[in-house]
């Protein structure tokens, strides 16, 4: 088939490739170039609210690059700590997702094939329910007079309600809750392909289950672990909805900072510079994701 496709007239093949590629270049790659460009512009009170980088003066082209936005971001400790705390939020949440998700994916992969589809469907279902709605659900649970506090007081475990909503704890709960299905699905896809005879052989030779898990299952599932972790970590770094709805005034996340620069301060050039630095931080995880994705698909 591949050979036949290659023997096709190059034009036919090229057109098929070009249809989706053109769309993605136009609506995904070029926009990034524009963000890069506008991150060097200056704010001005006009529509659109930024200056042109190029200017014709006396029939000569002048390009003016303004590094001010980047200097501003690097000098203001608010931004550096927002980047750092976003990475911390994402790292800890990814680890927690792995801790909860791995045993679940393993159990589903090892379960009876008849109920496996139902178990898997129950993992997929929440991810098809609106993200915003699922995060909203936690507000009613975590509030000071919310269900969790009422339940704990009713049990007699606490006397005063715990302050959970509008704290970093709530943000962790939200990220783990929101992204857990994206951890489980690639792990399951990987684990379900494992050959049980390897484990049987190890078992027959007297290897204890925990050791065969550590020396056989875990290394074999490495690609799934990486894929799952990247699917959680990368979007979590730029998360906006969760810190906005569940976080407090001291919750610093860069996705929220970008949103505020854009919508509240209407400072498009600074918002662009925030996005470019975020992309630089995510460049390595993105490269890892694309490397492993060739082997591991959703």
């Amino acid at each position: 088939m591949i050979k036949r496709l290659k023997s096709l007239q190059p034009s036919g093949r090229a057109i098929v490739i070009a249809i989706p590629f053109t769309w993605m270049i136009l609506f995904f790659l070029i926009p990034f170039a524009l963000v890069f460009k506008i991150s060097f512009a200056e704010l001005q009170l006009a529509i659109p609210p930024f200056t042109d980088l190029t200017r014709y003066v006396d029939e000569a082209l002048f390009i003016k690059l303004n590094l001010g936005n980047y200097l501003f971001l690097l000098q203001d400790p608010l931004y550096t700590s927002a980047y750092l705390s976003s990475v911390k939020f994402a790292l800890v949440s990814t680890f927690l997702c792995l801790l909860i998700g791995y045993p679940m994916a393993y159990a589903i992969a090892k379960s009876n094939p008849n109920i496996r589809n139902i178990l898997l469907m129950l993992i997929v279902l929440p991810s098809w329910t609106e993200f915003l709605i699922r995060i909203y659900a936690w507000i009613g649970i975590l509030k000071n007079n919310g269900l969790l506090n009422n339940f704990l007081i009713w049990l007699g475990l606490i006397k005063e309600p715990l302050m959970i909503l509008n704290t970093n704890t709530a943000v962790y709960i939200g990220i783990v809750y929101g992204y857990l299905p994206f951890m489980i699905l690639p792990l399951y896809t990987n684990l379900v392909k494992h050959d049980d005879t390897l484990l049987e052989a190890a078992y027959d030779l007297g290897c204890p289950p925990w050791k065969s898990f550590l020396t056989i299952t875990l290394p074999l599932s490495f690609a799934g672990v990486i894929a799952g972790c990247m699917l959680v970590f990368i979007p979590a770094v730029g998360e906006f909805v969760i810190p906005d709805l569940l976080g407090g005034s001291d919750t610093l996340m860069i996705g929220k900072v970008l949103w505020q620069e854009f919508f509240n301060n209407r400072d498009w050039p600074v918002a662009s510079a925030v996005a470019i630095i975020m992309l630089l931080i995510l460049a390595l995880p993105l490269a890892v994701f694309h490397h492993y994705q060739a082997e591991e698909t959703l």
Binding site: G12, R13, V16, F28, L29, A107, P235, D244, T297
Partner: protein, 282 residues
């Protein structure tokens, strides 16, 4: 190896499913709460559904979302299927890895970045080309198609990789032109993937808040934008009623397409068994 799960794993699974589902159940239950307070039970009532049906703002936003999602689903399924086919069947071409990375990058890209970059594109295009004029349904649709295409491409290409390539090869060897093979052989086999790709695109488009907020115009408020602005004002049972509709919608789609997929698998299995029987009989 014992086939039954160990107790510890069953415990873990139950814990995990409880974590995933309890918030959703609470959300649905409290949509039937008489009281305005979301956390205090004041008796069973459907009054919030009545209030919801009277709220013209929410209904208009929902209608806007449904229209955008419908058109997004068709375009993303088309583009995503072509892209998935290229990824799974075209082997190595010059920009092969660049192609795959570009198509699938929207899967993980933080939405604030995608949203900002698309907005800057539309603003620049309007200045240079005069199109698209202003921002609204068209710009939202273009943005939704872009990220939904990535999901469809992944679904379609993984389905194509599982599929037995020899059937397509046989048709080619018998002289069928590639385009005919694609429509007569490939498409019918991967139709379940196309259906789930369509449904997923529709849902993704219905659900998107962040990217939509960047590229929407003043007159184009979608349902998630409406929900978000009222959630920011505080919790309200009316939002729980909206949430219940969304949960029901997702449940019907996911359960329906799972049943469809299981039936397809069983049908395929029976046909294979029948074919083997037939061959053995000869």
């Amino acid at each position: 190896m014992n086939k039954s799960l160990s107790r510890r794993l069953i415990f873990f699974l139950s814990f995990g499913y409880a974590f995933l589902y309890i918030p959703i159940f609470i959300l649905v239950i409290y949509s039937f709460n008489e009281s305005r307070l979301v956390t205090v039970w004041g008796g069973f009532s459907t009054k919030w559904y009545g209030e919801l049906l009277k709220d013209q703002g929410i209904l208009d936003a929902a209608w806007m979302s449904v229209r955008i999602a419908f058109f997004t689903a068709w375009a993303a399924t088309f583009l995503g299927t072509v892209a998935g086919f290229v990824m799974a069947r075209f082997g190595r071409f010059r920009f092969h890895s660049g192609f795959a990375s570009t198509i699938t990058a929207p899967l993980v890209m933080p939405e604030v970045i995608t949203g900002l970059s698309l907005l800057l594109l539309f603003v620049s295009m309007e200045r240079v080309l005069g199109w698209p004029e202003g921002r609204g349904m068209l710009t939202i649709w273009l943005s939704h198609v872009t990220f939904a295409t990535a999901f469809v491409a992944v679904i379609v290409s993984s389905r194509l990789r599982e599929m037995d390539i020899s059937i397509e090869e046989a048709a080619m060897d018998l002289g069928a032109p590639p385009l005919k093979v694609f429509f007569v052989i490939t498409i019918p086999i991967i139709i379940p993937a196309l259906i789930s790709g369509w449904l997923l695109s529709f849902t993704l488009s219905m659900d998107d808040l962040v990217i939509t907020s960047f590229v929407a115009g003043p007159s184009s408020t979608t349902l998630p934008m409406k929900v978000f602005s009222s959630v920011r004002m505080g919790v309200s049972p009316k939002i729980n009623a909206v949430a219940t509709f969304i949960v029901m919608f997702a449940t019907v789609i996911v359960v329906g397409s799972s049943i469809f997929a299981i039936r397809q698998d069983k049908k395929k299995y029976r046909e294979m068994q029948a074919a083997i029987q037939e061959n053995l009989g000869q």
